[in-house]
């Protein structure tokens, strides 16, 4: 009896050993030769030691066509399970490139779907490590149907549990939509993402392009905005995912983790009082303000290379994670364009979904004028920001640091758009439009009739500026709650958020809103 049990155990152990080897030692060596880790090595680096619990390690495909009957590997090219990241429960899946190039199969979809279901039901984040050549062509339509299974769960989990995709290799064709449906996409090393590869593009359009220039990390973090963060190596990518997760809650019902604050809440940085240049057309880096105000070493900028005229990211204030949105005067004077609108709107909705308060720094001369922008629909893209701010129910605080002009002032978390507190620095200029165009419109006849139109224009501009280019007129009419010294910003925010931490606001019941697209 005991001998028979031992036989069973021996069989199980042998099968598990095979599963651990993935596509075999030779494939593992090839993976290492490319400077890449295997799926299990990646999970070992991501998860706390000894916390990984695997499911479906012995699952294999049932396809016999195209010689696949001779290529059955336990696990079928994906490792799924639960584990812990910095002590927090997470669900994970990692595609194993050593097994049939990590190709996406029906069994893979079943395993991913299973872990997605368990993650949604348990209310824990899910992290996907993508490294796959695409759909398993030998499986035919089965592998295509499998994508749908994963996509529907991506959408069901959206805004419920944090979903993070780490791209560690090729990610092509329909496979790109699963990461695109998740909350954050991080690209590491030489990973690539594209719908149609260089060969197909060459055949269809005649354009010649390499995989990296078509869908590398630089492209997707800088131009397309598909990816949120990039890391030079796999190791750095895994560390980045851990850091990103530290700002997010387990699910949409819970609060993000607070860490013990080490930066005094009442700290005032005198350098902030000198941050805004005397010349109003001179740029400054808004990130200097962000790093000086919030907890030291706590700023994680999201999409830093995409639409650099806007800055979004996670910070900590008195140990609490917060989302920060800002215009960047150092790039395009901080004007809003299509990409910046998309970037800001998406980030606001992410913060709102995961109960992160939003602090907005405004220095925006307006929306970027231009035929291209209008033709490309800057109206509907700009409307996304307004929609996102109006819809958000988390605590919202705005600080006007310098320019807040026209529609951009309204769009950037203005008081009337359910912003809880609106502060302004004494350098704020809150007006409908710039002084020169305002004078041209308001005093056209007077200037035309003047003996010296240029001198009269200068006088009127100076008069307009004195009257409107300050925060006090806005404070008079209640559009600004308080004009504060820049150095006071940190303690002011700490106190304000201390009060607003328990803010609860409910939107009218609806199936879902119709956000501009």
């Amino acid at each position: 009896m005991e001998a028979k049990t031992n036989d069973h155990l021996q069989t199980l152990r042998e099968m598990r050993s095979r599963a651990v080897l993935g596509g075999g030692r030779k494939r593992i060596e090839q993976q290492h030769a490319r400077g890449k880790f295997t799926a299990r090595e990646r999970l070992a680096l991501l998860l706390d030691e000894g916390t990984f619990q695997e499911f479906g390690a012995l699952a294999t495909h049932q396809v016999n066509e195209f010689g696949l009957d001779r290529q059955r590997y336990p696990g079928d090219g994906i490792v799924t399970g639960f584990g812990k990241v910095s002590g927090r429960r997470v669900a994970v899946f990692a595609q194993d490139f050593t097994v049939l190039g990590g190709s996406f199969s029906e069994v893979q979809a079943q395993k991913i779907s299973r872990i997605q279901d368990l993650a949604i039901e348990s209310g824990i984040p899910i992290i996907g490590l993508n490294d796959s050549g695409g759909a398993r062509i030998q499986e035919g339509v089965r592998s295509l149907a499998a994508y749908g299974e994963v996509f529907v769960r991506n959408v069901m989990a959206s805004g419920v549990i944090p979903q993070i995709s780490l791209i560690l290799g090729p990610c092509a064709g329909g496979a790109v939509y699963s990461p695109a449906l998740t909350d954050f996409v991080v690209m590491a090393g030489d990973s690539t993402m594209f719908l149609t590869g260089p060969d197909v593009i060459k055949a269809v359009t005649g354009e010649q392009v390499t995989a990296q220039t078509l869908g590398g990390a630089d492209v997707h973090t800088g131009r397309s905005g598909v990816a949120h963060l990039a890391a030079p190596t796999e190791l750095a990518g895994l560390a980045l995912v851990k850091r990103l997760l530290s700002y997010l809650p387990q699910n949409n019902n819970e609060d993000p983790p607070q860490i013990r604050p080490e930066d005094p809440p009442g700290r005032m940085d005198d350098a902030l009082n000198a941050l805004i240049p005397n010349d109003e057309n001179q740029p400054y880096d808004m990130r200097d303000a962000i790093t000086a105000i919030f907890d030291a070493d706590g700023f994680l900028e999201i999409q830093p290379a995409f639409a650099a005229n806007a800055v979004v990211g996670f910070v900590r204030l008195d140990g609490y994670p917060i989302g920060v949105v800002a215009n960047q005067p150092a790039f395009m004077s901080g004007a809003l364009n299509i990409d910046a609108s998309d970037k800001i709107a998406r980030f606001i909705r992410t913060c709102d979904a995961y109960n992160l308060p939003i602090v907005t720094f405004v220095d925006c001369p307006g929306f970027l004028p231009g035929v291209d922008q209008e033709y490309a629909g800057v109206i509907r893209h700009g409307a996304k920001i307004i929609y996102a701010y109006c819809e958000a129910t988390v605590p919202k605080i705005s600080i006007v640091t310098r320019k807040a002009m026209g529609g951009a002032y309204v769009a950037m978390s203005s008081k009337q758009m359910r912003t809880d507190l609106a502060f302004a620095w004494p350098t704020a200029q809150i007006a409908v439009m710039g002084a020169e165009p305002a004078v041209r419109l308001l005093y056209r006849d007077e200037v035309a009739g003047a003996s010296d139109p240029a001198a009269r224009t200068r006088e009127l501009v100076a008069e307009y500026r004195e009257k409107f280019f300050n925060p006090y007129r806005a404070a008079d009419v209640g559009q600004i709650d308080e004009v504060i010294e820049p150095r006071e910003t940190r303690p002011r925010l700490v106190r304000a958020l201390e009060v607003l931490r328990t803010k609860v606001q409910q939107n009218p019941p609806k199936k879902h809103g119709l956000s501009p697209t």
């Binding site: 910095s86 851990k242 699910n251 819970e254 609060d255 607070q258 013990r260 609860v504």
Partner: protein, 125 residues
């Protein structure tokens, strides 16, 4: 009377023996301590006091644990870096409370979030 004298004699003899043994033991311990004393450092009579810089270097050169100053600095930097990484990742030792825990959330927030996430039900349902 005879018994009393015998008793006194035995008392003096017994106590004397005990004290004699104690004295012997004390002597032995003193001897052991004397033999085990640290060797006296030989200080040259004409040695000049060390320069302050040299003294500082000597102090910095080896710590209490006999470690090299560079090793101590390396360990310090590694510890600080590790701590910073753990802090950035909000590791358990850095947290105020368990991530996402509603243990300290008020009923107001708990009930409010429930209302926010309540599915819409049509009239009469």
């Amino acid at each position: 009377m005879e018994n009393l004298a015998w008793g006194l004699q035995m008392t003096v003899l017994g106590m004397g023996l005990v004290f004699a043994l104690l004295a012997l033991l004390w002597g032995l311990l003193r001897l052991v301590l004397w033999l085990d004393r640290p060797a006296a450092e030989t200080v040259p009579a004409e040695t000049a006091p060390p320069e302050p810089a040299a003294a500082a270097a000597a102090t910095a050169g080896t710590g209490d644990a006999g470690m090299d100053a560079e090793l101590v600095a390396a360990i310090l930097v590694a510890t600080m870096t590790h701590r910073a990484v753990r802090r950035r990742e909000a590791a358990p030792v850095m947290r105020s409370y368990w991530p996402g825990s509603l243990l300290y959330a008020s009923r107001w927030v708990g009930a409010g979030r429930s209302r926010q996430h309540r599915a819409w039900l049509g009239r009469g349902r």
